[in-house]
Subunit: 467 residues, 4 copies
């Protein structure tokens, strides 16, 4: 099956060109100048021709931070791999990397197999896994080596959540050393959980139970501290490090300072930290629970710092930390006790669009949009070559993007399995017209035309972003 | 005339792909996967087939800082546009941007026309011009607007050389404001010439006349100061700024600090600041004169900072500041008085190779090599689309680069018109096999096969690197 | 004549002690514990006994930055040495250091003699002189050496006011080198006058003539730039430097950064930069002219930085830059053209009180009050031993200070020769009850009881604050 | 009993004056100018006259960090309160603050009483206690309040030594909050013990057992990290913090950065970090054990940073961390396993002299010597008024110091109970001639003439150094 996309503007991290794209089966095989004689030949042999006039032709988005079906606080994230990857596709994302979880006391293998089983045959788009390491010990350290060889090349650790996912500094250091040897990459949830837990206990003891206290008990100073610490531990270990869901100016300052010395410190932020503020959590009644995630949404003054970091590459990646819970029945578990509100927001569907809005607003450039949403995520996590660009030999994960369309975000119209949207009623500019996963059209003019199980597991290379 | 390059690895700022490149006349028209059925068709219609097995296929280098035939200190830079652009081509550079000079008291137009006349019909590769503004006044400010419209979109000013090119801070500020309105970009020679001149007078009065005093009278503190000042003036004017030939850790720190706040401060460095040190100037006898340029070569501790800056994009561009003088008869003008040594080094020929050596040494990545030597220079100075990449529609400025070849740098073998090399006897890895300028082969296996006058003048767009 | 001050709390930069003070003639001769048997002996031999119950006994304030009778913009500062030193005394200041001015083209000596003549026989309190160097050349540099030997050990240069006091960087550098040899201290007015002049011309050309444009044409960025530059020039020259009337957060940051590396960079601020904002200049009508000084009053966000700098000793001195002009007839010269408004504010009278208010407000400590207002000024400018403390052998320049008294600042009640107050109607806490200059009571319970000509010229030592 | 000290130069943190000092019993009652008629009266009534010609008369030193008799690693610090305070006196120190230790599982009270008992009746000079808090829990937090009221106003916590003294960040935070309420001051041992323990285990596993591995397993990065973290926790808690024995440039940078924002972050360093380097630990054989302390001695490049910090007050205090162990029988416990070497150096005797050497070398000023060694220690830990200065009403803790005497440091001649000196054979300038504790001569011309038990327990005020 041969497809030709004509009349579009191909946008990659490096180039903006008027070019036709020739796809053979699952793979991009050529890009050609529309003005050349090539088009005719291509059209003559094409099974399908897509006219992308007035559209961008972009690599499918890569969301490297999702939590489908994650068990959390006595419930599960409300999107399954099926519903979640479908929603992702609607929004122009064609790859996710989800987190397999090692439960304390069990092997990494056991956790990984569990997640393999959950995703297998369910996904609309391709997917890979990071591994959450709950226990750092001789056994799991050895398993990390094996996993790297199997394509699980990144490992998440937590400085938050004592008693659950929390690792001590010594454990983190050992894990960093291990990746220094096996080429894996440590991803860090950087909040000082030990102090946060004290603040939470104190707030509850004072009767401060409303959702807004979620934010007030996780001050940005404590994210800045933990980020700095994580980077220093990586420096001591002589390894790169990747900070997940960075939200605070202080944390960005720590990353920036390290990078200014040439240290391989990387960080991602999320659309919610670019657009939403702590005012969400302070909404009347229990409404604020809809905006509870960790790190929490920050006061408005933090937001311009995040955009700055994206512009000058002190933030390299935008992911979603998609971890949706319905307000009814799920977020409500925390009524009367904010610490029981499941942490997480729905987001996988709108990352590409919210970032395109940043282009429209002049906050980032057009190519930078693709770089932070597709190219660098691919390189950071060992998918480049196949994913993150449109070039001969790359997977035909392609989005036909209408940069002038306007859409209104709403729980009524979104496809994520949550009963609310953090952006309810927001009107933004830009929308995916058509989404292709390895040459197969998945979304066509707003309709899902893909298939459960089309998405394949991605065995990843080591980080391709060093040097 | 149709050319196909097969079996090579196409390296651009964003991608490293195995792809065939189809060229029609002066233009790249398509990239295709070798594995696809495309190759056969292409080969059948090709006038010429180039086998790039084991080679990189890269966009031709862009050297945005050259001074062919520049009058300086009573002599002229020893490379003409003919010899200089030929040497550039040998080294894989297919575009230069040279500096037209306004002599104090005359119009910009007059200076520009003089330089147009010098280059016209002489060049082996394409060329553009920046304009050196010697006088900032109502007349020249108005001329700047016209020049921007004519494709001269960048203007160099000097904080050094009082009485010659020096502008006061107030004049610099007015020029910055003017570019804020007309979209031009100010390029700054950032050394505090007012203080340097005092140090020079004092050194000579003490009888310190040897070449090494050139370096000692231009300490890095004074480059750091001027760089900081230039950036603050740009901040006050609300415009971007581009620092030329940055050489000092203090200056890089000023750029880094500004970028950390999101300011559009840019800087280039040169191969001599990445590889050579002030020890050159201290060579016995008058030998040190061979290493006299401004800013001067710095003590060794500055060099790792330059590589760091390149890695994390606090330095965006590497150019050469090619301004060659022969030792005999030219550098010798400064015997007995270092201040009379013509300032400048030969360099246009070896920039691509010396940077590739940085790739070999693990100091920068492969794609980053192309980014700093071709892609960003093109974007920074309004040539992107045509220059700086290999994509459908781009000019076929292409280098077939052998990454494993070894060569020894020497005045005996180089093609620049100077009787010495700063790198005499250095062995490095990597070499251009074939160089193509707009589809025409200029260098073929070490032989010049181009033509005087093939190189065309490039009318440039405004800076494409903002956002 | 012997005086004993009993029952007070002696506050110096280092100590807060309950002690009696014994004064013999002009000099403090002993401090004794009230509880000891000493008091009786002292009282029995005393000509005068002062009961300081509930009062602080503090060293007289030292204001190192005043401009009595300064010719500026076609008029003269409205306080003479007689009226100005009297006003100073009322406010608890017992020493001023004023600025003798070298007019361009004349010798330092000529300027100094002019100022000697103006002050001789006029002053209520002791006084010294700094020298403003208008021309830096071989002659004036040699004169600087002589002046240092005569007790004029500090020299002010200007980065502002091109064509008037402005020195080029090269000239500044030479002056710094000269003080490096003769032990003098360069004081710098750090604003980029070259750029400011452009902004002023542009503002006037746009018809922006109101007082507020004085502030808008002297943005804080340009003070930050000049401060950074001055410090770098001092670094290159290897000498200390002292920044006068620092007003901007950016400028403080430059001083702080230098001090963090151990460089001897010093700075003073003034009460107006601790309390007043740019809103003053924006008052309706021409009222804003009352608040015109240079550097200009800054937006409110700068103020906490100034207090911070005082707390952690990145600012070492508070002086007034007292340079008063009446609104009627003087400030009014600038109606219709803000650039013609004489620059300067009245302030010499209320520095001690406004700083004491800072103590009351918890912004600085009690001893720090004395340190920044008396002890460090004395040391910085070579008066320590005699001035700035209360210790055996020191001059009996003593203030009996009531820390609980309340006063309202107003032109109706102040003693400076201006028809307005920048603090009109402000109520503050603290007031000098009695002021003594070399053992002689000058102010007694709000009445001036001193004598014109009592104040003597102070031949100063070199800076005593290094190390 | 009345004493008069004549002809000396009284040096305090603020003043250097020629003054006679009159002492009545235990207390300074007056300072008088030698030139006044006072001296005669004083001499006539004096029981003892001390001629301090050519000598400094300085407040006795205050060493706020000693560990007499501390149990550590199965042995005890070799100086008892008797021998240690005697040695202190010899060196011009008249007050120590030692650390009472709470053993995990017991009350603070129990630990404190144990230390009270050890010191009672033993000391040659006055002494106070800080409290080491081993367990942070509801009980100990409540006890902290009581202790503050009893004059134990400072509490030491550890980020090092997991399983022994280590507190988690949450516990540290609670302790900080508690002092925020009760006015106590938290003192922090800031090294990341969790990581250090891993490095130690790994080094031993590799057979790296020599003393030098003590230093290599405690890299400065980990002190920098912990210092930064401690400061951030204090910021989050809104309290001041005091870092003990700061040794690393990175740690100083963290303190400096905090102070540059106005945060009340304080730090002490020790003479060993000003003079000794990691080369000590690398001495052949087991000799290196003599130099094992924590934090470890650092590479030479750290030392100038420490002196810089002292100069610009980013380091406020110099203490000794005196914790002596004999080489024979004690340090030897670590043969074959560096981790078993008791941590600590002898030092209480030579702090004043080693700092005076810094004055001689031009690294700090004369008054600054007294400030960092006596005045600020007194203020920081609530002893000011009585201790740290020479003023009417202060304790007559006075040293007659000969600034020109030369002495050679050696275990043969020192009075600390250790069989080696870290400064063996060093010749330095300056020595205490006579030392007085509350009016009683303790050291007279090198001879101990004091009495066991003369030293009294000091009930301390809260920190007097804030504002």
């Amino acid at each position: 099956m041969t497809t030709v996309i004509i009349n579009g503007t191909v946008v990659t991290a490096a180039d903006v060109v008027e070019a036709d794209v020739l796809i053979d089966g699952e793979t991009v095989v050529a890009l050609g100048s529309p003005a050349s004689g090539m088009r005719e030949t291509w059209l003559s042999g094409a099974d399908r021709v897509i006219d992308a006039s007035g559209r961008y032709v972009i690599p499918g988005g890569i969301d490297v931070h999702t939590h489908m079906e994650l068990p959390f606080g006595g419930t599960n994230a409300s999107d399954t791999f099926e519903t979640g990857t479908r929603a992702a596709a609607w929004g122009g994302t064609t790859t996710i990397i989800d987190f397999a979880v090692q439960t304390k006391g069990q092997t990494l293998r056991h956790g990984l197999d569990t997640w393999f089983a959950r995703a297998e045959g369910e996904c609309a788009i391709d997917y890979g896994f990071h591994m959450i390491v709950g226990d750092v010990n001789d056994g799991t350290l050895k398993e990390m080596d094996q996993l790297v060889d199997e394509g699980i090349t990144s490992f998440k650790l937590f400085m938050a959540y004592p008693g659950v996912f929390y690792s001590t500094d010594g454990e983190i250091f050992r894990a960093l050393q291990q990746t220094g040897n096996n080429g894996g990459l440590v991803m860090m949830h950087a909040e000082n959980g030990s102090v946060i837990d004290q603040l939470v206990v104190q707030a509850l003891a004072r009767g401060n139970t409303d959702p807004k206290y979620h934010g007030l008990t996780r001050p940005s100073t404590l994210e800045g501290e933990a980020t700095h610490r994580a980077i220093q531990l990586a420096k001591a270990a002589g390894t790169p490090i990747y900070i997940v869901h960075l939200s605070a100016a202080e944390a960005l300052a720590a990353v920036t300072a390290a990078r200014d010395t040439g240290q391989n410190a990387f960080a991602e932020t999320c659309p919610q930290y670019l657009y939403l503020t702590d005012e969400g959590m302070a909404r009347p009644g229990f409404e604020g629970a809809k905006f509870v995630c960790s790190p929490p949404l920050r006061p408005e003054e933090h937001l311009p710092h995040m955009w700055r970091g994206l512009r000058t590459n002190d933030l390299q990646v935008v992911a979603t930390d998609h971890c949706p819970f319905c307000f009814k029945g799920q977020k409500e578990l925390g009524q009367g006790d904010f610490s029981k509100i499941p942490n997480g927001l729905p987001g996988v569907e709108h990352r590409m669009d919210l970032l395109h809005q940043g282009v429209v607003d002049g906050k980032i450039g057009l190519r930078r949009w693709i770089e932070i949403a597709a190219a660098t995520p691919a390189r950071m996590f060992g998918l480049y070559g196949k994913k993150g660009t449109i070039a001969p030999g790359s997977d035909a994960d392609i989005v036909i993007y209408d940069p002038t369309a306007r859409q209104t975000l709403s729980a009524d119209t979104h496809h994520m399995n949550t009963d609310y949207s953090c952006y309810e009623g927001w009107e933004i500019q830009g929308r995916s017209d058509m989404v292709m996963s390895r040459g197969r059209v998945v979304i066509d003019d707003g309709a899902y035309v893909g298939a459960k199980g089309h998405g394949s597991y991605l065995r990843r290379e080591r980080c391709q972003y060093l040097l």
